[in-house]
């Protein structure tokens, strides 16, 4: 069974080069390419894809808009950003839409192993669960936590100790912060803790991130309130189990690993 990947960029020469690269792995990977978002959406109407890898800055329809449409129309498809921008803020704004962030130039083996990782993470889960996890852009936080964070970040020089305390105690915020910091935009430096992730992001990026990626997302407040003496992976598993409801009989550990793998979060 081959994995169907769609590359989207406004530079045809880049797509040509990637296609040439993909030829060597044609028995495992079914690669297609589209110049720009509208062409890509048209192609997706015709054919099923497992994963889209899109540029950010494109004329007509930018990467954020394209990926947001993909999320609505084909929620199960993995969404990977391959951006040439060094602007971290742009990546942060796309955070709720994107499973993985890659940065140009990216060696094709890194690219493929990233896609493979997203598929592998979801593999042990049921079909329906996979689609529901892929659909998630953000996890819900308790409204009170969001308010508290907003208040802390509203001052000129926020106290990062307090900010870190709030984020560390919130599963959703912890996971999102770790995802961004483990991404290519931060040199994939692999920070050791949520606290370090908060400090690496810094106050101004957290201000950009908070309104787009930290929210209660319509969930009840009690959902996000979980014991904080457990590991982040355990807490993520419980949160996901609660969100997916009684209907699922998935193991919380597999759920957590599925989402964390899909988002490229490495917990040490």
């Amino acid at each position: 069974m081959t994995i169907a990947v769609l590359f989207v960029d406004d530079e045809p020469r880049l797509l040509d080069a990637i296609q040439r690269q993909m030829r060597a792995v044609r028995f495992e990977w079914d690669a297609s390419a589209a110049v720009g978002g509208p062409a890509a959406l048209a192609m997706m109407e015709q054919k099923n894809f497992d994963c889209v890898i899109s540029d950010m800055r494109m004329p007509q329809m930018d990467g954020a808009e394209f990926l947001s449409r993909v999320r609505t129309r084909w929620p199960h498809v993995s969404r990977i950003l391959l951006s040439g921008q060094s602007d971290v803020g742009a990546a942060v704004r796309a955070a709720p839409l994107v499973h993985q962030f890659l940065s140009k130039p990216c060696a094709s083996d890194v690219l493929l192993s990233t896609v493979a990782m997203t598929r592998r993470a979801l593999a042990p889960l049921e079909e329906g669960t996979r689609a529901r996890l892929a659909c998630l852009g953000v996890l819900p936080s308790a409204p009170a936590t969001c308010d508290k964070l907003r208040e802390l970040l509203s001052v000129d020089e926020p106290n990062l100790d307090d900010v870190s305390y709030v984020i560390t105690n919130d599963v959703a915020m912890s996971v999102k912060s770790m995802q961004l910091v483990s991404s290519a935009f931060f040199g994939a430096c692999g920070v050791a803790s949520v606290d370090a992730a908060v400090r690496t992001l810094g106050a101004s990026l957290l201000r950009t991130l908070a309104p787009v990626a930290f929210g209660s997302d319509g969930w009840r407040a009690d959902v996000a309130q979980l014991a904080s003496d457990a590991t982040l992976e355990e807490r993520t598993g419980w949160l996901l189990q609660t969100m997916l409801g009684i209907g699922t009989n998935e193991n919380p550990k597999l759920l957590a690993r599925g989402l964390l793998g899909l988002w490229g979060v490495s917990l040490r």
Partner: protein, 454 residues
């Protein structure tokens, strides 16, 4: 009868009682004249006493006034210099002397043109400086005793006596050096910021072509290997045509092509990887969104990026040796820290370049280690060292020994401001002439906010 007249009469043996009666009226008048003279003398003496008293008081108050004026003159924060029209300084105050790093004795009697920066001497500066109809301001570049430049605004006015005749010029000089330095530092920082923004934009433009260059080169490499393999296999299938194939191969120079093509491809791949590394380093250093705030900085990554960026300054003069320890990220202003490291690394390269002719290729060692709650960064070179007489001044703004165009003299002063003032760390050095210099940067892992709160 006046006592003096009585004595005179007695001396000439005339008793008043026996004096002829007709003398009486005359003697009375003489006596009266004597008394009047006494009176006058008394008045004169008295007035003499009073006026000398007044004179003394007046002199005292004049001296006090003079001292007061002198004190004003000396304690004024602006430099004041009184000069003759031929530029000879007849007096100056302490501020003027201090501005030039000299004593008043050293200045008085000399021409003020001696203290003007050599760059500006003669530039429309006539030695015979005429009297001025009204006070006029000039911006002037002076030279400090230690050779540094002092900027001042001199307002010159002509002093005249009560008849309106001019007798000398007085210049009031405001030292604007600090202000000048600040302006230049700001414009330097703005230039750096603009260059940084530009570099981030350029990096973005380069990334997409880099992606397909890299992919295409990998494709060419793989395809070439496949093609050459295929060719050899095909050739082996045709033993009968061996001789003619060999002739054709020679005509096409196949041996050379088969040897050089993979090398050409590998070298191209290396070149692309090199460009990608530089662009990646620029990306690490261009933290524009986060400037102005402290974030966790991975110092080892920053140092590697800095060395990559400074490669062009280093590659012909020194090898770089990294001794990067296992250090935690530090809370710091990322942009500023990069700038400090870049300044230190480029300085190390320049120091090594200066000694490359005498000592040959040098080494720049970049090392990091943890020291309790701090991390220590060392940037060491095997360059020329810092001569003893200028060690005290290397952190002074605009102090440079580099030729024009190579250094602004701001690198180390900015580094000091960033490390010491902004991060509450330390910046020091250890140097030996002819052996090299080591710069030490010490930073608290927790950043500077906590020490501010304490």
């Amino acid at each position: 009868m006046h006592a003096l007249l009585a004595r005179q009469l007695k001396r000439i043996g005339i008793a008043l009682e026996s004096a002829p009666l007709e003398w009486r009226a005359l003697l009375d008048r003489v006596s009266q004249t004597y008394a009047d003279a006494d009176q006058d003398r008394y008045r004169f003496e008295r007035s003499m006493t009073i006026s000398s008293e007044e004179m003394r008081e007046l002199a005292e108050s004049l001296a006090a006034e003079r001292d007061r004026l002198r004190a004003i003159f000396d304690s004024a924060a602006v430099g004041i210099c009184n000069a003759l029209p031929d530029c000879t300084i007849i007096d100056c105050n302490e501020a003027y002397a201090r501005m030039l790093g000299r004593t008043r004795a050293d200045i008085i009697g000399r021409s003020w043109v001696d203290f003007i920066h050599p760059d500006e001497r003669g530039k429309g500066m006539t030695t015979a400086f005429a009297y001025l109809a009204q006070p006029t301001s000039f911006e002037r570049k002076y030279i400090h005793r230690d050779g540094s430049t002092v900027w001042g605004i001199a307002t010159v006015s002509t002093m005249r006596d009560s008849t309106g005749a001019a007798f000398s010029n007085i210049a009031v000089v405001r030292d604007i050096t600090a202000q000048r330095h600040l302006e230049q530092t700001l414009s330097h920082a703005q230039k750096l910021e603009a260059v940084g923004r530009l570099a981030a934009g350029v990096a973005h433009e380069i990334n997409t072509p880099l992606q397909f260059l890299g992919d295409n080169i990998t494709f060419l490499d793989r395809s070439l290997t496949a093609l050459l393999g295929l060719y050899r296999q095909t050739r082996a299938l045709m033993p009968a045509a061996h001789a003619s194939i060999e002739r054709l191969e020679q005509a096409a120079d196949l041996e050379f092509i088969a040897g050089e093509l993979p090398r050409a491809i590998h070298e191209s791949a290396g070149g692309v990887a090199h460009v990608a590394r530089i662009v990646g380093a620029m990306k690490v250093l261009a933290h524009h969104e986060q400037s102005g705030r402290q974030t966790l900085v991975d110092v080892n990554t920053t140092l590697r990026s800095v060395v990559t960026i400074a490669h062009s300054e280093i590659k012909y003069v020194a090898d770089v040796r990294f001794e990067l320890g296992d250090i935690p990220p530090v809370l710091a202003y990322a942009d500023d820290l990069s700038q400090v490291f870049l300044n230190l690394v480029v300085n190390a390269a320049h120091a090594t370049a200066d000694s490359v002719r005498t000592k040959g290729r040098g080494e720049i060692r970049v090392s990091t280690r943890r020291d309790g709650a701090n991390i220590v960064i060392e940037i060491a070179d095997t360059g020329c060292g810092i001569p003893e007489n200028i060690r005290a001044r290397v952190f002074d703004p605009f102090f440079t020994t580099k030729e024009v165009g190579r250094g602004t003299g701001q690198g180390l002063s900015i580094a000091r401001a960033i490390i010491v003032d902004k991060h509450h760390g330390t910046l020091s050095f250890d140097t030996q002439v002819g052996v090299g210099t080591v710069f030490f940067v010490q930073l608290a892992v927790a950043g500077s906010t906590r020490s501010e709160a304490a």
